[in-house]
Amino acid sequence: MQVQRSIARNQRMELFLDMAELVSGLLLVGFLWTHMIFVGTIIINPNLFNALAAGLDRYYLSYIGIPFIIVIFFSHLVIAGRRIPTRFQEQKIMWRHASMLGERDTWTWVFQAVTGMAILVLASIHMWVVIENWPISAVFSALRVQRYLWLYLVLLFVGEFHAGTGLYRLFVKWGWFKRQSVFHVIETITVLIVVMGLGALWVFLRLGVRVV
């Protein structure tokens, strides 16, 4: 027994953190998918996109939702990030282990850790530039996409991969459904959202060209 470990031990906190990881992850996936569907309205019609943005603004949903999601975003970074090995030796073990096993779920975990860091940087930039040019409108968004196209392309892929894999892993850990079925459902949703996201980026690019 080591005194410092016994004193600092709090199993309820360990449960709380596990639950917080679950809840924050679920909220972020829910947010991301809703967000992508909202963005996807640009494919149908820029006026619909504008009306939706104005509606969220008018009823203060943006002013409640955005700060809330920012808090959840950074909480998730800390809570889920506690699983990421910090020592170089541990990181090397992880990488070698994933290479040795060659199993999908171990590799996707490694990429989740990597994409998590990428999302931290890219989504922070995204949030900053959106809030700086408030309110949201099709024209501003088009200009933004034109200027930061590579950022949005990368963020779309890493974001959706991270969210889809994370959601799959939650279902695996809590065992509500068969894991192969869960994988296929989430994979399909993720592919659909990525395709929709690419479509939205394409529409924004063309809008951007017309505006400029």
Partner: protein
């Protein structure tokens, strides 16, 4: 069809001779029908290299001694046919466990430690009466106990677990599976709180990241994902106050985890 000529690469290292660096040795081997890695290793030791160290006892997937990494996957040598493998086969000792030499690791000490730590035995106040008729148990419960009981403690789930590879105190699937076995056993009088003390922590059920290499590689095909999720749900339910009791008598209403039950 002509027999394939296999190339067997084996990790060689003896911790008692640290001046000799770890290395890989290659042995040629002619494949025969129905050949298992167990036979390959025994023949290599008999005919090619008598210094080769590896473990085996039962050669029938019962003892769990011959677990090793076969082409990157944790497998039992006795249960692995060469037929399903490529011509070049690489054998490594299991990670996580203490290396004895070459392919031999000490899983026994690890499993004994975990057994003691989780008190992996029936906790009962009932006095055993050898003359009495055995107590009955419904079939469903018996099957739910039997399923995790099939674990042979080979260590494949532990070796495949990324968390166990980096966290020395992580108890792994075999342990959580074992605790699950006692949780469904009506003869075990432990309270949910006592189970929470044992397994409701980061070294136990909350440390699992859901990478499922345990579930993919269990040679006994125990449904480990189900077992892990079952324990996680039960422990969360207790911790959040939803799992008050199991109908057993003498159960404290508010057992505080992390403190001794008075």
């Amino acid at each position: 069809m002509a027999n394939r000529n296999l190339k067997i690469n084996i990790f060689r290292y003896n911790p008692a001779e640290p001046e000799k660096k770890p290395s890989m040795a290659s042995y040629p081997f002619e494949e025969l029908p129905g050949l298992t890695m167990f036979t390959v290793l025994n023949r290599i030791r008999e005919e090619l290299d008598r210094t080769l160290v590896f473990d085996f006892v039962c050669r029938a997937a019962i003892c769990g001694s011959c677990a090793m990494i076969i082409n990157g996957k944790p497998r039992l040598a006795c249960k692995t046919l060469t037929k399903g493998l490529p011509k070049e086969i690489t054998l490594l000792p299991l990670p996580v466990f203490k290396l004895i030499g070459d392919l031999s690791v000490d899983t026994g000490t690890w499993f004994r430690h975990i057994s003691l730590k989780t008190e992996a035995w029936i906790h009962t106040s009932a006095k055993f009466d050898p003359t009495a008729v055995e107590e009955r148990m419904d079939n469903e419960t018996a099957l739910r106990i039997y399923e995790p009981e099939r674990c042979i403690e080979c260590g494949c789930c532990i070796a495949g677990c990324a968390t166990a590879n980096i966290r020395d105190d992580f108890m792994g699937a075999a342990t959580i599976n074992r605790v699950a076995r006692f949780m469904v056993d009506p003869r075990d009088e432990r309270t949910p709180g006592q189970y929470f003390d044992v397994i409701g922590c980061d070294e136990g059920t909350f440390g699992c990241m859901g990478l499922m290499a345990c579930d993919n590689n269990c040679p006994m095909e125990i449904p480990l994902q189900y077992q892990l999720a079952y324990v996680r749900r039960k422990m969360a339910a207790f911790g959040l106050g939803g799992w008050k009791g199991t109908g057993r008598t003498g159960e404290p209403q508010h057992h505080r985890a992390g403190r001794s039950a008075s």
